[in-house]
């Protein structure tokens, strides 16, 4: 698979801080990519550089094989920022048409695509309503449609599920999968880790303007595993003593064990087999992204930094 986006040594400094400090990574075409980080980590600045709103102080961006040219490449990008809104007094149909035309679609082309998406998202009856009459979830849906309407190669969604009920969140999630299957690349920025775990193929974690983690979700979990296993027995033995593991937690007949250095998971099984306890299940416990996130971010100055508002 080819790369849609490659960032090399991107830097953006504001007067008071280094918002993005030498970040490089690349994104495969057709993947769903998670950009994670605590508040104030530099995610928004990074996204604004990818969407051409800001110019980097140094470093370069390769988009679709060529140097990124904001003026011409903007039509291939759809960006739904975290700070999003719509003209309250404008009719929904006109609003969608306006935003689509600003992306560079012709009027007739835009109309056709709006009709398609409105039908798909069950929004056909909304055309003449005003934005101020919509609920938060409804306007979120509209915002999503206006972002992906022009079938961009790269879709950037900053916290797309905030304010959505589970039903609508699922609808949007399905659409994101669909878009990726049809060849679009999705950058998904959030700090809701369970969603990242569920949706993303590849993630990058930034903190204090620097890249902290880069890899597929599975690899990262492997990298941060703590050799914890869960073992379910038919009955708990009276005494358990092994140099191979320590018991961390005990829930009914389930034990959570941590394997000591130089021992393997099979050593745990061996121990219980020797004792002739019937094992009902045995599985590895991988850390959640949430745990990894907290582990990496906690103790840094991330919280303090979030309060220093960016100034550029």
């Amino acid at each position: 698979m080819s790369e849609i986006l490659r960032l090399s040594n991107l830097k953006k400094h504001y007067a008071s801080q280094k918002a993005v400090d030498d970040i490089s990574f690349s994104i495969e075409q057709g993947s769903i990519f998670g950009l994670l980080g605590p508040n104030g980590a530099g995610k928004t600045t990074l996204l604004r550089m990818i969407t051409g709103i800001f110019y980097p102080d140094s470093g370069n961006i390769q988009f679709d094989g060529n140097a990124f040219d904001p003026l011409n490449d903007i039509i291939k990008i759809g960006y739904m920022p975290e700070e999003r809104g719509l003209y309250k007094k404008m009719k929904i149909g006109e609003q969608a048409l306006y935003l689509a035309q600003l992306k560079g679609l012709s009027r007739s082309d835009a109309m056709q695509k709006i009709k398609f998406w409105f039908k798909r998202m069950e929004m056909e009856s909304w055309w003449n309503k005003k934005v101020e009459d919509l609920s938060k979830g409804m306007s979120q849906k509209l915002q999503f449609v206006t972002t992906v309407l022009h079938e961009p190669k790269l879709i950037i969604l900053d916290e797309p599920f905030s304010g959505l009920d589970p039903l609508n969140a699922n609808l949007i999630k399905e659409e994101i999968y669909g878009l990726a299957q049809r060849g679009s690349t999705v950058i998904f920025s959030t700090h809701r880790m369970e969603q990242v775990e569920e949706i993303c193929d590849h993630i990058v974690l930034v903190n204090l303007g620097k890249k902290v983690l880069d890899g597929t979700v599975a690899d990262i979990k492997q990298q941060f595993k703590e050799n914890k296993f869960s073992i379910q027995l038919s009955a708990l033995p009276n005494e358990m003593n092994s140099s191979a593991f320590n018991i961390i937690e005990q829930k009914g007949n389930e034990l959570i064990v941590q394997i000591n250095e130089n021992f393997k998971s099979n050593d745990v099984l061996k121990y219980f087999l020797q004792q002739d306890h019937s094992i009902e299940s045995f599985r590895e416990i991988l850390p959640t992204l949430n745990e990894i996130f907290i582990h990496l971010v906690e103790g840094t100055k991330a919280t303090a930094r979030a309060f220093e508002r960016s100034e550029n």
Partner: protein, 444 residues
């Protein structure tokens, strides 16, 4: 289609299609006419009627004192200050015996305090009566004097102004009217449309539309689209007013009797001369209409209208981008807007003050310089242009003023664009003028 054009279109149509736009456009002239008519009506009607008992020691007032609609002078017997109210009078005047022309006081006592107008009316009538008596003593009839007065009005001042090889008739009162009117109009519109731009920018910022927009268009395109779109709304409003005024004046002519209009056109052919010999008869009304038409024709309308459009647009563009810059740094709190607007509104108000002096005296050095500096030129230059080009405003001054206004708005737009670009994406922080300056003069 160019993106900036799409933005202009939206900004323009969303305002012009609004019912409120149509309503204000139609109602403003009607309200203004109504206001003037109302003020006139109030000044004519609503006066108290006075029945005044005159106690005169001289004896000539009874035959010389003229009554008016509101003031009725009566010369009753047996009325004094003690009983005039019970006898149905509102006031009583006590005039002592005059000793030649020596200064003398006469008094009036009233049930209610007299208004300023009534008081001066009464004293005018008394003085008129004294004048009448003195004329009679000198052997002159009042009617004779009146007819001499009206006949003596045959000589009329026409001021002419050097205009290359020819001279042209000019009219100071008309110039004053045009100068003040157009200056005032630019003043009002700068505030109205400037504030409209600011509110539009604030709406985009507080509703969080700005970031969605700037991922598709450049911030500068967004700002210019809004400024041009709203400027076009202003021009539309002007043209609608011009058409409306045209319709109203045409309609008004239908209320003038046909024969009067014929007399007016006869006067136009004879250049205002009333021919002796009775071939053309011109009534009072016809003469007045002719005079009004003639006075209006002394102004160089095409030049004035062209300059007005130029200075309206130039002034609007100069200030609108500044208003946009202020709108972009305001957060949710509208009070921030008030204090940030002050440095922009001050020069506008100051220009208005210079303008109101310039219409009276268009050639002072303050007026001249203020008409060249772009901060004040839109208003002050319009006040001076009404007095004539190149008589009052030499061509070089006009050219310099226009060029510096164009240069000025390019500069303000460029600086504001940089403030705007940063401001619309900033939330939560109160921005000081110092920081805005830093953004404006930062490279790239």
């Amino acid at each position: 289609m160019n993106k900036i054009f799409i933005i202009i279109q939206r900004e323009y149509l969303s305002r012009v299609k609004n019912k409120r736009f149509l309503l204000t456009t139609l109602l403003t002239p009607i309200i203004m006419v109504g206001f003037i008519a109302g003020a006139t009506f109030l000044s004519i009607s609503g006066k108290d009627e006075h029945k005044i008992a005159v106690i005169d020691q001289n004896g000539f007032f009874k035959s010389n004192l003229q009554n008016t609609k509101e003031i009725n002078f009566v010369f009753p017997e047996n009325v004094d200050t003690a009983n005039y109210i019970t006898k149905g009078f509102t006031d009583i005047i006590l005039i002592p015996k005059f000793e030649g022309t020596a200064k003398v006081n006469y008094t009036i006592r009233s049930k209610k305090r007299l208004g300023l107008n009534t008081e001066s009316n009464i004293s005018d009538k008394i003085n008129e009566a004294i004048e009448d008596k003195m004329l009679q003593d000198a052997g002159i009839q009042r009617s004779q004097l009146d007819s001499i007065r009206s006949k003596s009005q045959f000589a009329e001042l026409k001021s002419m102004e050097e205009k290359g090889d020819t001279v042209q008739e000019s009219n100071a009162a008309l110039s004053y009217g045009i100068g003040f009117g157009s200056g005032m109009l630019i003043y009002i519109t700068m505030f109205i449309y400037g504030a409209m731009v600011m509110r539009g920018v604030m709406e985009e910022k507080t509703n969080r539309i700005a970031e969605v927009m700037v991922s598709s268009v450049k911030p500068f395109q967004l700002m210019m689209g809004k400024i041009i779109g709203i400027g076009a709304v202003g021009l539309t409003q002007f043209f609608m007013w011009i058409i409306l005024i045209g319709i109203l004046t045409t309609a008004a002519q239908f209320f003038i009797p046909h024969d009067v209009m014929q007399q007016v056109s006869a006067l136009q052919q004879t250049n205002g001369q009333i021919p002796t010999g009775g071939m053309v008869q011109a009534g009072d009304a016809a003469q007045k209409i002719y005079k009004l038409q003639h006075t209006m024709s002394t102004a160089n309308w095409p030049v004035i209208i062209a300059c007005f459009i130029f200075y309206f647009l130039g002034g609007y563009l100069f200030y609108a981008s500044l208003f946009a810059a202020v709108g972009s740094v305001v957060n949710e709190d509208p009070q921030d807007a008030q204090s940030l607007m002050l440095p922009i509104t001050m020069p506008i108000i100051f220009s208005f003050i210079i303008m109101s002096n310039a219409v009276q005296d268009p050639s002072t050095s303050i007026a001249t310089w203020a008409s060249i500096i772009p901060f004040s030129s839109p208003m002050v230059m319009m006040a001076r242009i009404a007095y004539g080009i190149p008589g009052t405003v030499p061509y070089w001054q006009l050219a310099l003023s226009m060029l510096s206004l164009i240069g000025g708005f390019l500069l303000t737009t460029w600086l504001s664009g940089k403030i705007y670009r940063t401001g619309i994406l900033m939330y939560g922080k109160k921005v000081s003028w110092k920081e805005m300056g830093k953004w404006a003069f930062r490279k790239n």
